[in-house]
Point group: C2
Chain length 334, copies 2
DNA sequence: CTGTTAGCGCTTTCAC
DNA sequence: GTGAAAGCGCTAACAG
């Protein structure tokens, strides 16, 4: 069977509690015995039992991360950054995939509560309200990783980020700029669409409803493809398209390729997220990078301060960064 | 504070053990009291404490899944399938990202052992031997999710799968078929390369060493790009390229686009894995789909039988499926 | 500095 | 059918 502290205690001829202290590097134990016990533990292949420790300390040193799934690049990259940041402060991450199926919401967070995670970080937005009300039944703090409506929100400044991107297109000389969004991720989508609209307005351009197409594809690839088809079918298609995320842009890019429209010569394309694969597309995708690492870092900071009793509301809107690559260029001619 | 069984017991005027039984739907409790207790638990917002349960039952109902990271599509899709299968049989999945940094190997599996996961499923191969020897110190069963050298291996028949793909290219009339592989994932890479070689040999073609280029990019995008450049620089470039995975194919596709080479007219491209985004590329990628769901299903079956004491060795090599899309076509002219 | 004691919240014998 | 009691492996007072 697995070796316990008791086993080590007997082997060392000391009491369990001494073993516990020695292994915790407590100063209240002779360096000599500590040394001996630690070596013994090593030799005997001792591995602490997390359940027992969690039970007595009443802490799990775990945070739950709720996301829609592991199928989209950006959330995966973000969760990786969080995992990394959590590791650095001695925490582990418990993942909970929540299906888009609202009925399964409870099924998905129950394990997190059973594990007694010390905080829950929600990465993606679909029907958050429902989640939040569900989570409010428990006394676990919830952190929203986007600019939402909660006491703890740490997100990218989507409006500013979108402006940044659309300004880039405007600077290149584009006048007919379209937006492809997704109705599933209301908050992110709306904020980005707002930024898009504002950027146009700032330059005295009137946003054209025909140039805003919103799909309802959770994952984006198909939505980007079909939305681009709609735009191409317009009597007067746009010269540039801003996609709400990179997967959508990838689908849109595919549609353009199929239609024989060159990017960026005939049409500029702008994504959002800077997913890792974006740079390997042809052409390399111009996109907007969210500050993943910083988001993760601030999240863990917040978690830690929350756990240590600080309940001050925290809201952050971090700036994004434009990454210019090959998919954007001045419009053809006039 | 959080409500415990004791709290419910007091509220119901019964003993803790009765509450335990009622909540476990034990027949050894009057339907009436059971009903009453369950309702009370519901009202009071009771959520069992996993640590306490795990400790007493000496079971975690968790399996560990070791993978390199959440940055590659296929492993993410596979882990999703495993999570789904695990959920169905009442298990949860604990993820462990292992960096490519060998030194951190122990850092990564320790939490799994501390959690007392009942089995460990290893998804990706880099330096497995080291992992396996590390894991052998503990008495947790290890299942390799690829055709490797262990008592429990459940994988895709990579050799056969590669043959399937290369046969498709041969059938289209290609004679100069290249292979782009990755030195990091030795087992998968070698098996696929073997299948590639065998397929050529079967048709009386001599494999040309110049047409096999192996990169060392963990993630594939960059490796595919640079490898394709090498192939294009050849005095006699291939007319078709088989990439060891889809990300590599994506990078290779980008390189072809940048070089102005049309796919599939000038060059056919074949991937491996059928990642979700593959179909949205331009052209849609022809690739080889691994039986993810079946792999996941068999994995959980094995875990369950292993836990219930059955220690019979289990080795499976499941067939893959060719998915013909737009990136393959007959070679131009002769 | 070390041993003793008392639990953490839960399940599971064993009596009645 | 229910209560009493024991204990999973660990930590943290409290003595000495």
């Amino acid at each position: 069977m697995t070796v316990t502290m008791e086993d080590i205690a007997q082997a060392a001829g000391v009491h369990r509690s001494t073993v516990s202290r020695a292994l915790a590097n407590s100063p209240r134990v002779t360096p000599a015995t500590r040394q001996r016990i630690q070596q013994l533990a090593e030799e005997m292949g001792y591995v602490p039992n997390a359940a027992a420790r969690d039970l007595i300390t009443r802490r799990s040193r775990a945070i739950g991360v709720v996301l829609l799934g592991l199928t989209s690049p950006y959330p995966c990259e973000l969760v990786t950054a969080i995992d990394e940041a959590a590791l650095r402060v001695g925490y582990r991450v418990v993942l909970s995939r929540r299906s888009d199926d609202a009925g399964r919401a409870l099924v998905n967070i129950k394990p997190l509560i059973e594990q007694r995670v010390e905080a829950i970080v929600v990465i993606e937005t679909p029907s958050v309200e429902q989640y939040l009300s569900l989570l409010s039944h428990y006394d676990v703090p919830v952190i929203l990783l986007y600019s939402g409506d909660s006491r703890f929100c740490i997100g990218t400044d989507n409006v500013g980020a979108a402006k940044l991107g659309v300004d880039h297109l405007l600077d290149l000389g584009h006048k007919r700029i379209a937006f492809i969004g997704c109705s599933r991720y209301t908050i992110e989508n709306d904020e980005r669409q707002t930024g898009y609209t504002q950027a146009l307005l700032n330059r005295g351009l009137t946003p054209d409803p025909h140039l805003m197409v919103i799909h309802d594809d959770w994952l984006g690839g198909e939505g980007g493809r079909s939305s681009m088809h709609k735009l191409l079918a317009l009597p007067q298609p746009p010269t540039a398209v801003f996609c709400w995320n990179d997967e959508t842009a990838l689908g849109a890019l595919g549609a353009l390729g199929a239609a024989g429209i060159r990017v960026p010569e005939d049409m500029s394309l702008l994504g959002f997220d800077d997913m890792r694969l974006a740079r390997y597309l042809h052409p390399p995708l111009t996109t907007i990078a969210q500050p993943k690492e910083l988001l993760a870092e601030l999240t863990m900071q917040t978690v830690l301060s929350l756990i240590s009793g600080n309940t001050a509301t925290r809201k952050e809107k971090l700036p994004a960064r434009l990454v210019v690559r090959g998919s954007t260029a001045p419009p053809k001619e006039r």
